[in-house]
Symmetry: C2
Subunit: 143 residues, 2 copies
DNA sequence: TACAATTCTATTGTATACAATTTTTTTAAA
DNA sequence: TTTAAAAAAATTGTATACAATAGAATTGTA
């Protein structure tokens, strides 16, 4: 007993999360590439498909990303034609992000392309523990 | 039913892992900063404290990182004086990483500094589900 | 109403990550 | 044993992330 406190890789929940998260992203990436999305821009599209016309900071809160990450990401997505960035008329500090027609259209393609991947991961997700993970992990959002 | 397949942020285990992993790293970072370590170099030190004198590729396998990440990271850690990088005499392709005295000495300081953090996180880890997480997450290492 | 504090986005600087390629060395095969 | 294939590390290019700071706009307050 007490040995659980020792510093080592296997003991670190943090390492498990880190490795796991990267692995998961790598499973998605080749599929997302066909949609010209990275994992981060995919998450951004997910957030926008749920709630369109949202400020940069609100979007960042949803995704746990700050303006230093969001600004260049959104500029790139604008250049790709998925979104528009427009400064609010009422408060010039605020920039609203909106899906373009192309951005909205991507939803259908994404659903289609990801369904196969989701099915194969689904065989994992259907394991008893996966539902548990979905509920446990948010408790660890530490920030 | 069926609605679980819908594309949205809350449904994505991947997003939960991603957010959770980042949050965890941010809890560690301020403490690690006092040791002049980033989270990645901390993981590297953990691996080396467990097994000293190891090749770059073996180290990368342990940490799930490729040479494109390892090489600059290790060069920086060498400059900091934590490790040495020496090409193998038997196979000139291989570079062995070894802890310096300073690198070994860091173990004690790390244990001390992290104990407080680990205690406060420990109250979380002691929850019934934390032990489960430790066992479940490795099953998701997809690469 | 001046002006201090706050808010929001953008910028700068540093540190990861990984795919793809290159270089050097070693191994395997014809 | 020449030559093709493989292996290991390094390099190049692209994409994140986040801390710290800056700059512009807005809000709160004396």
């Amino acid at each position: 007993m007490g040995n659980d406190d020792a510093l080592n890789l296997e003991n670190e929940i943090g390492f498990a999360l880190y490795a796991c998260s990267k692995g998961w992203i790598q499973k998605y990436s080749p599929v997302l590439e066909r949609l010209n999305l990275t994992y981060t821009s995919y998450l951004t599209m997910l957030a926008l498909w749920e709630q369109d016309k949202i400020s940069v900071s609100e979007l960042g809160k949803k995704l746990y990303l700050d303006s230093g990450t969001m600004t260049p990401l959104l500029k790139k997505m604008e250049k790709q034609g998925f979104i528009s960035r427009d400064r609010s008329e009422f408060d010039e500090r605020v920039v609203f992000i909106q899906l373009t027609e192309k951005g909205r259209a991507l939803h259908k393609q994404a659903t289609k392309l990801l369904s196969t991947l989701k099915e194969s991961l689904g065989t994992m997700e259907n394991n008893s523990w996966a539902e548990g993970l979905k509920q446990l992990l948010p408790k660890l959002y530490l920030k």
